[in-house]
Amino acid sequence: MSTEFHRPSDIQLGRIAFRKRQAIRSVLLAALSTAVLGTLLGVLVTSAPGWDRVKESFFDWGNATEFLPQILEGLWLNIRMLVFCAFAALALGLLVAVLRTLRGPVFFPVRAIATLYTYSFRGLPLIIVIYLFAFGVPGLRLQGTPSVTVLGGAAIVITYGAYLAEVFRAGIESVHPSQIAAARSLGLTYRQSMRHVVLPQAVRRVAPPLLNDTVALQKDVGLISLAGPIDAIRAAQIGVAQNANFTPYVIAGVLFVLLALPLIGITDWATLRAARRQNAGT
């Protein structure tokens, strides 16, 4: 190709120079407006009449350092719960979604149960499920009842499994029937077509919404504090009650946001990549 030897015409050089000036101008404008707005907000907040009291009860250094170790210890429980619940809910969701696609009279009951499950657990508030599992189940005094933490985790997995199942199902249905026809025409069985052709495409397509639901799950893992185990939120609550100061809640909140950041970043990246792929098209 001759691109290496191409000398841009005067018109093109003019365009390039113009675009460069425009780019510098917009960077300067953005910096200026950010500085103005930032200063304005800072002055407004710190000069507000109640600022000193707000600072004292929400951002108190003493309280922060006093309870940080306990909150961090509690957060470790949240992290373990998160990892376990995310994988379990994804597996459950995928299983239920595949069950819902089965055809034929033999699978009618399986299909019916899977459908009933996704309908009911998407409508049911997570808190009710946690209460029923964590307080209701031990109340039955059955032998071998697992700990409250496990029961709370199960409540989260079952609730989120219903959401994720619907996301997976949308993905499965978005794969064009001609792909299944191609797979079957090669002699692949229904299961093999699902496994090698439909599911890989479906999962790729719904990766962004799946990750987004995982971010939501990450926050809701904190709800098991309602059932008693000492996670980050519970530890913060104890601290708040002890000194009548809300700083521990703020600390726990910040920690949750920090924990979510990597996953949110991955979600944005995956969404962007999916959008680019679609635009590239065929």
Partner: protein, 254 residues
């Protein structure tokens, strides 16, 4: 040809009927295809060429009649459709390659998963075929990086590596410009000299004339007229066939 066909044909469609709701697409269609024979299906758009190929591959269920493969009734509900499909290759008009797999993986999927062949052997065979059709350098590419003609050749190879008894080709050139048509045409002519039994639906009369042993004209859900390409395309007996060909000549496709 008449004499040779008296022996058990590879494919025998007998009084096949196929309806979609109230519209009857195939209505008592009868067609035999002998060993090593290449039959071209021609007919107006919507005359049921694709439908017939899908019925033969059991992707669509017929409403009456029988389809036999080597004398065995494959439309019997007791027949194992997956087993039948292993013996029949189908190439779609729209390629239908798997977009999430490389060219090589597209081709080796069925040999490995369906026919239980060792991975290395399947790969070597796939590479051999790709070499033959001039696409060896594309083995690691994803389908969306290939031109239409390249995708179509990959789709044909994907069907061929399973050594099908019968190869069905659905308008494999209609999405391609004339230059790419040449690539695919050459490939099909090579297959013919290998002795592959083929049924191909096409709108390209030149294509039908060059590769087919027999041309079958579909009209109103049945084979209205069939015979050697020179006769059916050059001197048709039926008025409907003459009309159809006249329209094609008008459109400049003969």
């Amino acid at each position: 040809m008449d004499a040779a066909d008296e022996i058990v044909p590879v494919l025998a469609c007998q009084d096949v009927r196929k309806t979609f709701g109230s519209s009857v697409v195939l209505d008592g269609l009868t067609l035999d295809v002998g060993e090593h024979e290449v039959v071209a299906l021609i007919g107006a758009s919507g005359s049921g060429k694709s439908t017939l190929l899908r019925c033969v591959n059991l992707l669509a269920e017929i409403d009456d009649g029988t389809v036999r493969l080597d004398g065995e009734d494959i439309t019997d509900p007791k027949a194992d459709a997956d087993l039948v499909r292993r013996k029949i290759g189908l190439v779609f008009q729209s390629y239908n390659l798997f977009p999430h797999m490389t060219v090589l993986d597209n081709i080796t999927l069925a040999p490995i998963k369906v026919h239980g062949r060792p991975g290395a052997e399947a790969k070597a065979q796939a590479m051999e075929w790709l070499q033959r059709v001039g696409l060896a350098d594309k083995a690691g590419s994803y389908p969306d990086r290939l031109s239409g003609g390249q995708q179509q050749r990959v789709a044909i190879v994907r069907a061929l590596v399973n050594s099908p008894r019968l190869l069905l080709l659905d308008e494999v050139t209609s999405a391609l410009d004339p230059e790419l048509v040449g690539e695919v045409l050459t490939m099909i002519r090579d297959l013919k000299s290998d002795g592959m039994t083929m049924v191909l639906a096409t709108h390209e009369m030149g294509f039908a004339r060059q590769v087919a042993d027999r041309v079958a004209f579909l009209d109103a859900g049945r084979v209205l007229e069939q015979g050697p390409p020179a006769q059916v395309l050059g001197d048709p007996v039926e008025a409907r066939t003459r009309q159809f060909l006249a329209r094609i000549i008008e459109a400049g496709r003969l």
